[in-house]
């Protein structure tokens, strides 16, 4: 793996020439029988995979309007063709969003449309052969579902929807991806993606309390499973021990401490991440989300706050109300949702992002900061794809962009933007999202990081940027790994609440 090197920065950001087959056969490890069966999928590729796959595709076409419309609507205009970070980094034409979709669209046309049945060659329709299936496995596991292509498509075609459907079909015939499926097994069995059992978690939190006490002299608590707490914090499990994630967890705890908020973690729901979305499986997506509902009901909390995690915030913001009733506005007769919604305090948005929580406290003057504590940093902000394009914060357009930036500016003196073509709705994925954050995919991860690394390097050269803040556990882990390959220090990446933690003054609020 050490032989993977960073691709060269483009001198001018031209659209790269095609290198057909560049990433062929570079998909991830296939899930083992044990991993697949643990989450209810066939252990190995089933004998009648062809018929099963087509039947599953038909089922998904009838359940998801997105898939149905997106299979039909593409005109091959090419608007998306140069927008994917994986295409830019690998030059493999099948990593162009339209070509990735066409891997499935060609099969759709063959089995579900008249012209494809009659004149397959004419409309680019293909039989679902073993080669095509392998191609699906390879290239649908080289998409991070970041939705950048969808911003630019004149019909809003979202490759993430197609990738999710493809992975769902592959899982249904026993051809799943090891990394995602293994993690989903862990979240059900142990409560979080990293397989950190309850006692170890409690131990870690006690250690953190001691560390913070040593650092600040203040008793900042990291409570867990406290019934009757006001706030339930759902955060990615990487926050409990990975670097730099843990510094943000300390930041959340300090904010809760300084605002006098009673809060708790849950050992049952010690994970914000929801890999059910990555594999496009509604049942898994729902089942993983229900843990949070269950924990909220059991602990009797009034608010649910979500830590720094990109796709988790998309799931929380966009899907939780649908999946588990965490939200507002369920109908009177919707007893499933009402059961929880009656308990929650609707003076606040449910769920609330930790950045919304902190920014609200800053606006109320409930927090004080010593901004000079962050003066060693020249900071820029990497918008995480799922937050940028699949969610919102606050109740104004673009809140998911402004609120984290506002927090940074409130706690630090030096903030600069990267190239506007690489931020906000146009942001590039870190290269490790969507279930790709595994070492067997390191090559695509390194290459996919190219556009972000180019923008960061430019900001470094023009403004001396030495810290890239972000609010996603996957971004943090991915950058920690790939930054050194691009010649940066791994500590260039960190969380927004890491900066909050650096600057917050705890003693004054007596």
């Amino acid at each position: 793996m050490s032989d993977i090197t960073a691709p060269a920065y483009r001198v001018i950001p031209i659209i790269p020439a095609l290198k057909p087959g560049a990433m062929e056969g570079k998909g991830p490890f296939v899930a083992s029988e044990k991993i697949n069966e643990a989450i209810g999928f066939p252990g190995n590729l089933v004998d009648d995979w062809h018929d099963k796959a087509i039947a599953k595709m038909g089922e998904l076409l009838s359940k998801y309007r997105s898939l149905k419309v997106y299979m039909d609507a593409c005109v091959h205009c090419g608007a998306c063709s140069d927008k994917c970070h994986y295409f830019i980094g690998t030059q493999d034409p099948k990593n162009m969003p339209v070509a990735r979709q066409d891997l499935m669209r060609s099969v759709y046309r063959r089995y579900f449309t008249l012209p494809g049945k009659l004149f397959p060659k004419l409309v680019g329709a293909r039989d679902l052969t073993r080669e095509v299936l392998d191609e699906w496995y390879n290239y649908f596991n080289q998409c991070s579902e970041c939705r950048r292509c969808s911003v630019f498509c004149p019909y809003g075609i979202d490759t993430a929807e197609v990738t999710m459907a493809a992975r769902e079909i592959l899982d249904s015939i026993g051809y799943g991806q090891k990394y995602s499926n293994e993690i989903i097994g862990k979240v059900h069995k142990i409560g979080n993606n990293l397989g950190l059992p309850g006692p170890a978690l409690i131990d870690t939190l006690e250690g953190l309390e001691e560390d913070v006490k040593e650092d600040t002299g203040i008793d900042v608590k990291f409570p867990i499973d406290v019934k009757g707490a006001e706030v339930l914090l759902i955060t990615p499990s990487a926050d409990f021990f990975a670097e730099p994630h843990i510094d943000s967890l300390i930041g959340y705890a300090k904010v809760f401490h300084a605002t006098g908020t009673s809060w708790t973690l849950s050992s049952m729901a010690s994970e914000a991440g929801n890999f059910g979305m990555f594999i496009g499986n509604y049942e898994q997506l729902r089942k993983i989300a229900l843990r949070i509902r269950e924990a909220a009901l059991e602990l009797g909390v009034k608010r649910i706050v979500v830590g720094e995690c990109g796709h988790a915030w998309r799931v929380a913001y966009s899907f939780w109300n649908t999946l588990s009733g965490v939200g507002d506005g369920a109908s009177e007769v919707d007893r499933f949702a009402q059961m929880l919604q009656k308990q929650l305090d609707h003076r606040y948005k449910q769920p609330t992002h930790i950045c919304e929580f902190t920014w609200d406290a800053i606006e109320r003057n409930a927090l004080t900061f010593d901004k000079a504590k962050n003066d060693k940093h020249i900071i820029t902000f990497h918008d995480s794809c799922n937050v940028a394009r699949g969610s919102r914060m606050g109740d104004f357009a673009g809140g998911q962009f402004e609120i984290p930036r506002n927090i940074i500016k409130a706690v630090a003196n030096n903030f600069v933007e990267m190239d506007p073509n690489t931020t906000r709705e146009r942001t590039f994925c870190c290269g490790g999202g969507g279930g790709l954050l595994t070492d067997d995919l390191l090559e695509i991860r390194v290459k996919g990081a190219l556009p972000r690394m180019e923008a960061l390097n430019q900001a470094k050269e023009e403004h001396g940027v030495n810290f890239m803040a972000t609010i996603c556990a996957i971004c943090k882990a991915q950058f920690t790994k790939v930054l050194p390959i691009y010649g940066f220090d791994r500590r260039v990446v960190g969380g927004v609440h890491q900066l909050v933690s650096n600057a917050i003054i705890l003693g004054d609020k007596k």
């Binding site: 309007r65 911003v151 729902r286 109300n321 919102r392």
Partner: protein
């Protein structure tokens, strides 16, 4: 004889077009969208969605962000086509509506700009490596078909005039199920035959992007998932009151 044949073909093609398109729209409308997936910048109100969709359909907002060449050629083609189609209403109305008469001269020039837009789009498909890579034979054929329709139409207007009064008489007749003689000349026959093809293949082709865009969840959903619970029928069935 030819008049009868064309009359029958036009009835059939129109029937296939209308029924095919309606059934497709019906499928889109009935297929549930189980999750909220609007793409940023997503409006939070229905009014906002209407505005967004209008910008998308009238100005091709997303394509504008994506690529100026494709946008300018694509927009030029579609806007011209709209004018050209409206101009052709004069062959179906008597007396001709005032505003149709008003746009008549613009409609004629739109035929030329439509051809220019199509040529630009085809050039991109032929000469840009990655667009050529994603093009299927049918992508090229659609452009050829549209170019041939536009070219034959323009030739009738500017080079070899056809008997437009006779043409109008034929179509007015069709609208009252009265088959009248269709002037017979090569260009007109080509022009009308290609339009027949367009009508027939529209509902089973990529031209479904026209109705499709209105049903695209990333563009037509309101971004209010926290404020209002959204559940599809098939997903609701998974829920029990116990909350599992």
């Amino acid at each position: 004889m030819m008049s009868t044949l064309f009359a029958i073909l036009f009835y059939l093609a129109t029937l296939l077009f209308v029924v095919g398109l309606l059934s497709r729209i019906n499928t889109y409308a009935r297929t549930p969208a189980p999750l909220k997936i609007p793409t940023t910048p997503a409006p939070t109100t229905t009014g906002g969605v209407v505005l967004r969709m209008t910008r998308e359909v009238v100005f091709f907002e997303s394509l504008f962000k994506a690529n100026l060449w494709t946008w300018s050629m694509g927009w030029l083609f579609h806007a011209s086509l709209a004018l050209v189609v409206l101009r052709h209403l004069r062959y179906f109305t008597e007396p001709v509506w005032g505003w149709v008469a008003f746009i008549q001269p613009f409609g004629v020039y739109a035929g030329i700009t439509m051809l220019a837009g199509l040529a630009g789009l085809w050039a991109r498909r032929l000469f840009v490596e990655r667009i050529r890579y994603i093009s299927t034979p049918s992508d090229h054929l659609w452009l050829v078909l549209l170019i041939a329709i536009a070219a034959s139409g323009l030739l009738m207007k500017f080079a070899v005039h056809t008997d437009v009064i006779g043409v109008k008489d034929f179509f007015l007749g069709l609208m009252h199920f009265d088959i009248r003689p269709l002037p017979m000349d090569a260009l007109l026959t080509v022009h009308l035959s290609l339009v027949l093809l367009l009508l027939v293949f529209f509902p089973i082709s990529k031209l479904l992007h026209a109705p499709g865009v209105f049903f695209s969840p990333t563009r037509n959903q309101t971004d209010n998932p926290r404020e209002k619970r959204h559940v599809a029928g098939w997903a609701k069935q998974m829920e029990s009151e116990s909350g599992k």
